[in-house]
Amino acid sequence: MPDPDPAGAGARLPGHTEPASIRNFCIIAHIDHGKSTLADRMLQLTEVVDARKMRAQYLDRMDIERERGITIKSQAVRMPWRVRAGERAGTSVVLNMIDTPGHVDFTYEVSRSLAACEGAVLLVDAAQGIEAQTLANLYLAMENDLTIIPVLNKIDLPAAQPEKYADEVARLIGCDPADCLRVSGKTGDGVAHLLDEIVRQVQPPVGQVDDPVRAMIFDSVYDIYRGVVTYIRVIDGRISARDRIKMMSTGAVHELLELGVISPEPVKSGAIGVGEVGYLITGVKDVRQSRVGDTVTIAARPAATALGGYSDPRPMVYSGLYPIDGSEYPALRDALDRLKLNDAALSYEPETSAALGFGFRCGFLGLLHLEIIRERLEREFGLDLISTAPNVVYRVIMEDAEEIQVTNPSEYPTGKIARVFEPTVRATVLTPNDYVGAVMELCQGRRGQLLGMDYLSTDRVELRYTLPLGEIIYDFFDQLKSRTKGYASLDYESSGEQESDLVKVDILLHGEPVDAFSSIVHKEKAYAYGVTIAAKLRKLIPRQQFEVPIQAAIGSRIIARETIRAMRKDVLAKCYGGDITRKRKLLERQKEGKRRMKMVGRVEVPQEAFIAALSTSTTVDQGPKRRSG
């Protein structure tokens, strides 16, 4: 155990800490701008982790996060700190560092993390400048009235240009470039000063000590040994370990099994008071029973009104997940059931595809979420999966005024449709000004509406667009990166919906629709989509004994056609004495291969053909950092 009180904050135990001595802050940064490394230095400086136990990116728990160097689940660490310099030198405080998710898919979780803080460290790589995702989170923090402390990281790098990026950051948040702190998470340079500045600049939390308890859940994590661990920020009142708590959204009451703070390992405590950050465990097994954004109160003396800002996670992107080996379907179901315990945003229901067999239609917050779930299913559960091209949710109004939510293109209604709405996003692209034209061309090609354009500095531009979400989930990020030589960054947030001229394109094989390839696309792009998929399938599907037309159709109207010519010859010319054994084995293998074929009507299609046809369209358009070594 590290010394819990290196800063001499003797009386400042959880539940007994004056709000005036507390600072709650988070770090806003792009995924590879060094947030986790900086956090590691803070843990060392405040001596809550000793050097022996220190491992890189201590706070990132899941393997996938560690490998990619990204943080998905936030956590809160309580760090005692004695101010080293300035007017308050010698003052002891408690710092709660709340780690925020860095990715757009988790905007809601980011917003709850921010709501738990009074201040935010804006961390920017001094060699790269601010990125679009950081900008979006910065705006979110500013909207929440957080104190922003601008910090340039990696000043030890030869390529660092602190002056240039200090100007850029100062312009964004309206401060003096000289106010930008300079640190190196790697060497530890400037980190102690940063902690002092957090104490000086960030407001202490304010709450009603004697009011009924209101605590906001900003994270909820399933642990196989403990059940769900819920992270809370107490706004009003004081939770004691003996209390029975109540979830205000559902009214559910739970015994408290444990209450404590993270420092950075869990430390039990008897109580948590106003302004403090900690965790609680009730024994529930599913994070859906302890949802991010919900308000926790005490059953015996409940608060009258919940804190604002709660909303149910809403899947934005859907994809069908199918086991390549059909016999793994039960294993896939079990694995999804397990992942769901720790992921309130994951939704799924059984689905049957003529092309792919039995699987699940899964709803995700976004593409990264999809990729993470898929990768965990494959890695942690050993499943081989094929996923259909991701699609968004469409709201279809029929002429008889019936409203239908479409989460699977093959279920798009066939009757008379009055109007169709598709979700839109407000996208921010930061790009060197050399590539502005290329970015605009891309966005316009994806039906984007330009909202505005600003120069962050003389050579960096911020472009703001409204784009259909459905246009972003299909290789948009890859295209953006390739058109800007990797320099552009992208962020987007949901911005409602728009009515659009959308149609469902079906792909028919010998007259039978292949459900896995049905897609909802803009009318003007239907032809291009149909031609592309039909041509791809023609190359992938082997010739049959009869001619097989591949058609793309909107309703009963054929918009594209390819033909797989009939196979006319399938016979080995020679079969003499020495060939018989080989020939017998060959035919038996072929017959076995035939059993693995999927039948679409009369057409035999090797599953590999579907996989190959789908694989290129399922590349997830995010490029998380890969670490070497």
Binding site: M567, D570, G578, K591
Partner: protein, 392 residues
């Protein structure tokens, strides 16, 4: 030291017909498309000792078969390689030995393969005198550019001259081998080859689609893009052309790639393979089949000779067919024949598949009505697909 066959293999040897295959694994030169077990002088210096080795293996076979009662040999087939690279007298010694050990049937069919450039009228007379009754000549094509691509050494006219000489030497049965679908071959080229074969007066034609075998020089040239790959649709067109031209000239197909004038023109030895007969294959790399046991000899002639000389087995591998294997073989071999399969050989769902294949025009409706599964012309081109459906 010799192999011991299980009783099941030895039971009723001869009742299923008994043939002998003799493999002569030597060629003057290897053709670019060929993946057969054959060696050029540069690859194997062995020649002379080979006949003695063959005689030695025959002696062993006689010991193995001894107790089962030696069957009469009804057919003999010398294949290669190029058997006619060896002196006719040497080939004759092998026939003499077979006759001495088991007896050659008085009407035995005795065939040898020959390359057009490796036989002279004198050789042919010697072969006929040694007891050969049938000659199979590798003509392949009359188009010089096709022969060139195949690496064949002979002039287009040499094959026809060999046929002429064979008939003059007293061969009543002569086959011409054709290869179709060679890249660069035109429909006219192939029509010319068919016409030449018909006009040569032979009673048997084999026509094979060019197969690109892995590891051959031709496959390498195609992989490098120097020569285009053969096209299956072209091959199908050529096959139909062969069927049409040969039918018109009085030939009938009796196996997917084989046509004959009259029943007497058919190759009885090869029919044995397709009907599940017994045969012993002598020589390096030769395959044998006796009563449900298949085995094959070591491939290299040097190994083969040395093992015989040292009393070691020459068998490189073997398999004993299960009832299910035999069923599969009955279907896959029988379907290739014009006589087809008896409907009774099709079990369970295969019978229903046969009905469907009749409906799709792959099996002949008239033959099916009288209880036989016989391929239509279109079915012959898709024979492997039909077999897969008819397998148990």
């Amino acid at each position: 030291m010799h192999m011991v066959l299980p009783d099941v293999a030895l039971a009723a040897v001869g009742a299923r017909g008994f043939g002998v295959y003799v493999h002569v694994p030597f060629c003057a030169r290897r053709c670019g498309y060929c993946d057969f077990n054959t060696y050029t002088p540069a690859e194997s210096g062995l020649r002379g000792g080979y006949i003695d080795a063959l005689l030695g293996e025959a002696q062993r076979a006689a010991l193995v078969l001894g107790g089962a009662g030696p069957p009469l040999v009804e057919t003999v087939f010398f294949g290669g390689g190029t058997p006619t690279l060896l002196p006719a007298a040497d080939l004759g010694r092998v026939l003499e030995r077979l006759d001495r050990l088991w007896g050659l049937a008085s009407d035995a069919e005795v065939t040898t393969e020959a390359n057009p450039e490796s036989v002279s009228p004198a050789t042919l007379r010697a072969l006929r005198a040694a007891g050969f009754t049938r000659l199979s000549v590798g003509m392949q094509s009359v188009a010089p550019h096709v022969l060139a691509l195949l690496d064949r050494r002979h002039e287009p006219g040499q094959a026809l001259a060999a046929v002429e000489a064979a008939r003059a030497a007293g061969f009543d049965h002569v086959n011409l081998d054709l290869i179709y679908g060679t890249p660069g071959e035109t429909p006219e080229d192939f029509a010319g080859s068919l016409a030449a074969a018909v006009n040569a007066g032979v009673d048997h034609v084999s026509a094979y689609a060019l197969i690109i075998e892995e590891g051959t020089p031709l496959a390498a040239r195609m992989a490098r893009g120097e020569v285009p790959y053969p096209d299956d649709d072209v091959a199908a067109d050529r096959y139909l052309a062969a069927e049409e031209a040969l039918s018109a000239a009085g030939f009938s197909w009796y196996e997917v790639s084989n046509w004959a004038r009259g029943v007497s023109g058919r190759c009885r030895h090869n029919l044995g393979y397709w009907r599940g007969a017994d045969w012993w294959g002598f020589g390096a790399g030769a395959h044998s089949h006796l009563g449900g046991v298949r085995w094959w000899n070591v491939a290299r002639p040097g190994d083969y000779r040395d093992r015989l000389a040292r009393g070691l087995p020459v068998v490189a591998g073997s398999e004993t067919l299960t009832e299910a294997d035999r069923q599969v073989e009955t279907v896959l071999l029988g379907v290739r024949l014009a006589e087809g399969l008896p409907a009774g050989a099709l079990r369970g769902p295969a019978a229903a598949e046969a009905e469907a294949a009749v409906a799709e025009g792959l099996l002949d409706a008239g033959a099916w009505r009288v209880g036989r599964a016989v391929l239509t012309v279109r079915g012959r081109l898709l024979a492997d697909a039909v077999v897969r459906r008819l397998l148990p």
